[in-house]
């Protein structure tokens, strides 16, 4: 490109500044290339592909193309035309013989529970019916299949299974997001809010948010004085204190969590101690674990270092002379703390709180072990759909909503405090 451009002008003009700087710039960018490649391959790529799954679900559409085509003109009332029966029979029988109908059935089952056994059960008998009809030389057209399928399972005579097939066959769909916001398919196929006993995801989003906020505040209240103490200790003592803060980092998550169970349970050390010194009676043991208290205690313990470390490094950079100056100019210690020290630590507070909050939002093993019935957060459901139900579309939609929420908070934080005010020291 460069050669053609330069040959097309008769008089060579000086190359523009940006182009002269291009070489060194490219070389500099080249150094970052391994990092860019690494991040794209191991992080951005998988993340985008998973997020795509939240709205793009081509599996049923690819498995049953003729059925989807036959259902296109159907008004959703009563039963579809004979062609749909013929198409679905052809595709069910073929897929059944190739052993991949189960995947389709499981996906349709997510739209309407019970469809898995309807499809698997009916198709088994449809294979036999086809063989019998062929042996007898009878025609296997749409009318034949309409009669046969309704005889096998009366539900094929109503609109529900067909609506489920049609809904599951949408290539691009908002149904995972609707489900993630506690909407369900109503009787007419449209989406309505689920009855209260079935609403799960929105309440869990709220709980996750509130627990994370609470844990972050608790960490701040406990961590601020600790960080201050470490930052203002002589180096030797500071090292020991820092070691104590870091210790949880080097212990396995399960060991830490189980230790809290040993300490806090009904017959645990803390309760035994309180009973021994007579503060509470033997029948008045305090429930400190398998409830919200347990969740808060264990999560705060695990996440504390993430708040203390940024705070510590910011506080160390604050010369003690400022506080001395403030006090010598007549400020009370509290005034000096509030008006001189606190504002200077804000970058560390911001960094620590943001880090703690975002980590807390993704926690689920600790709350599940010590939180009792309150111990499930939104990440538990994401893990369930990734590992157990294999409904990655719904898992992706939940994760996308969580990611969106965190991004929103980040933007709000940026507007209110300014992201450039975050500092790690």
């Amino acid at each position: 490109m460069t050669s053609r451009e330069s040959s097309s002008v008769s008089q060579p003009v000086p190359r523009p500044l940006w182009r002269r700087a291009l070489g060194p710039r490219l070389r500099a960018a080249g150094l970052a290339l391994p990092l860019v490649a690494f991040v794209s391959v191991t992080f951005l790529g998988p993340m985008l592909s998973l997020l795509t799954k939240s709205f793009h679900d081509p599996e049923v559409a690819d498995a049953l193309p003729e059925t989807m085509a036959a259902l296109r003109g159907w008004d959703g009332q009563e039963t579809p035309p004979d062609e749909a029966f013929a198409a679905v029979a052809r595709e069910f029988v073929a897929a059944r013989t190739e052993r991949n109908l189960g995947r389709t059935a499981n996906r349709v089952n997510r739209v309407a529970s019970g469809m898995r056994s309807v499809i698997m059960g009916s198709s088994r008998e449809m294979v036999e019916a086809q063989a019998a009809a062929e042996a007898a030389g009878a025609a296997t057209d749409g009318a034949f299949w309409r009669e046969t399928m309704i005889a096998i399972d009366t539900r094929w005579g109503g609109p529900e299974p067909w609506r489920a097939l049609e809904a599951a066959g949408q290539r691009f769909t908002a149904r995972h997001y609707l489900k993630a916001l506690d909407f369900e398919r109503g009787p007419d196929g449209g989406y309505v809010r689920a009855p209260e006993v079935w609403r799960i995801y929105v309440p869990l989003f709220w709980r996750t948010f509130l627990v994370s906020l609470g844990v972050t505040l608790l960490c701040l209240v406990i961590g601020y004085p600790v960080a201050h103490m470490i930052a203002n200790s002589p180096p030797k003592r500071a090292n020991v204190l820092l070691l104590l803060v870091l210790l949880p980092f080097w212990t396995s998550l399960l060991v830490r969590t189980t230790s809290w169970i040993v300490l806090l349970q009904n017959q645990g050390i803390v309760n035994d101690f309180l009973v021994a010194i007579g503060l509470i009676g033997d029948d008045g043991r305090i429930a400190m674990i398998y409830n919200m208290t347990g969740t808060f205690v264990a999560m705060t313990h695990v996440l504390l270092p993430f708040l203390v470390l940024p705070l510590y490094s910011v506080m160390r950079a604050i010369p003690p002379a400022y506080m001395n100056a403030a006090v010598s100019l007549g400020a009370t210690p509290f005034q000096a703390l509030r008006r001189v020290y606190w504002p200077q630590t804000l970058p560390g507070v911001g960094a620590g709180c943001l880090l703690t909050f975002i980590l807390a939002i993704g926690y689920y093993i600790t709350p599940a072990l010590v939180g009792g019935q309150s111990g499930q957060l939104i990440s538990n459901m994401i893990a369930y759909h990734v590992q157990t139900s294999l409904n990655w579309g719904l898992a992706a939609a939940l994760a996308a909503l969580l990611l969106g929420g965190v991004t929103l908070l980040y933007v709000v934080y940026d507007r209110l405090v300014g992201i450039d005010r975050i500092g790690l020291g």
Binding site: R116, M120, V197, R207, Y290, G372, Q373, T388, L390
Partner: protein
Amino acid sequence: MRAAAVAVAALLVGCAQQAGDGTELDSSGSDANEGAITVVSFGGSYARACVLGYHESFTAETGIQVDLEDYNGGLAQIRAQVEAGAVHWDVVDLGVADTVTGCDEGILELIGPELLPPGPNGEAAADDFLPETSTECGVGTLLYSTIYAYNPETLPGPAPTTIADFFDLERFPGRRGMQRKPEANLEFALMADGVSKERIYELLGTAEGLDRAFRKLDTIKDEVVWWEAGAQPPQLLADGEVIMSTAWNGRIFNAQVLENQPFVIVWDGQIMDRGQLVVVAGTPNLQGALRFMRHAARAESIAGVGKYIAYSPARRSGQALIDRHAETGTDMWPHMPTNPANMKNFLMSDWEWWADHRDEMQERFAAWLAR
């Protein structure tokens, strides 16, 4: 310059170490031991019973090494391996609802009935396996039960004897342990509410029946400690955290026999389920895996597991081989879920119903817990 050289050297050493770790991991799979197979199971006392029960005799007989791996159940890893075309698990211990789902999805090998060996006295496999224990892709090995147990040391006074007693807070006040998932709990609730076992799944399929089950669970919700891992219930009982807890019968048996805990199992209302072995589709060690399946399906093999843990063989001829505990000499028969004395009121878990409704029940259960 020198600093850079040192840094590069350090990086290289790091890489070499990483690579070394990698090859070590690989060699445990298939490269080093030609023909070794990887068997994946639930770990703990159960996996140990399988190793002692028949993995060792398999290796002695065939020379094929068995590498044991632990996992927590579920199809996610199998599916990931099959879809990536990098199958390194050969044989997996799986719950029956997962076996059926995985079989439907085509990620498990079909196991023809001709693969199943006859019984020790030539009994035809088709008659010898207990009904509904084997499926298209899964070979039934064991029957295990979800029961509830109590600790008489922390529950003095009258002993609970029925599943209804588990829900009776007036006669048995105190905390109860239950597994944090809908499976078994919904069935227990309806049985305790007086529903006959034939109608349980039919009722759970209706909105009213489901509400009824959750209403029953509501009555004890505030007193429930929820457990996740199979090792927790014995611990909760021993610590006095709960006065009674649902559990897998083998775990309670182990605590009774190996740790001398005084726990008592209430067999009334036990929910029986079947354990199966499957072969992952597309494994490069198919022949070795199938040989392992044939060995594992022998009555002697599955009865061998029953010498170490109270899980019951899925074959009639295996039932006849139930003997004494290999380490303590305890008579195993009274501890087996299939002992008629323990089966006066039992429910067979309906895998078809759970395969259809598990996801939606999980959501309903989570919503109920969260309130």
